[in-house]
Amino acid sequence: MKSDVFKLTIPSKPDYISVARLTSSCISSKLGLSIDEIEDIKVCLSEACTNALERTDEINITFEVTKDQLIITVDDVLLPENDDEKMEEIHFGILIMKSLMDEVNFSEKGVEMIKYLEDGLHEKEKEL
């Protein structure tokens, strides 16, 4: 099955992160994820966007839906290099992403966060 891809680019401004959050909520809901899972995805996407915010003029987000996964990638998200106290929030953000998503992979490009899909998607597919 070919995957379905959504792409979203938002200006790097704090007030637009809520737009990305709402979009993630909408897509997750469409996939039949539970309210709890949707809330988790919203927080993780926001954490990734907050991390990227000061590093870029625009934040590129991709949502890829495969048969059994929702893969969200956000460019320009980095692991902090030191234990500077100012980095506390960034550390919390990464801890939250790693705890709430099924897989979190960092690369030079950014972060890839994966949520495994269960029966919800399959039922949606049957409808289609």
Partner: protein, 105 residues
């Protein structure tokens, strides 16, 4: 509406009661910080955060709460947090901040 903040001093129990209504994220957390800072600047006391109408919070909100705790902890004051939604409560467990703030079940 992204965030509305109600702050009142409870004279009977001697604490600041803070009710954030809506979402605390990177956009709205500075406002939360300013309002609570102003309150504890006027009067140092314990702070009770009522999370009943708090719909969303992330690391920026957690960082804000830590910043506020630093302002009052020298006077042995604490931050109490109550009525949190399960999905927000979970963030305090993940970051182990449930040991830093007093989370009331």
């Amino acid at each position: 509406m992204a965030l509305d903040i109600k702050i009142n001093f409870d004279e009977d129990n001697n604490y600041w009661l803070v009710k954030p209504i809506g979402e605390v994220d990177i956009y709205t957390s500075p406002e939360l910080k300013d309002k609570i800072s102003q309150a504890v600047g006027d009067k140092k006391a314990d702070i009770v955060i009522d999370g009943k109408e708090l719909e969303y919070l992330d690391s920026t909100g957690l960082g804000t709460l830590i910043g506020i705790l630093k302002m009052i902890k020298d006077n042995n004051h604490k931050i109490y947090i109550r009525n949190l939604r399960a999905n927000i409560r979970k963030l305090f467990d993940i970051t182990e901040l449930d040991k830093v703030f007093v989370i009331e079940e």
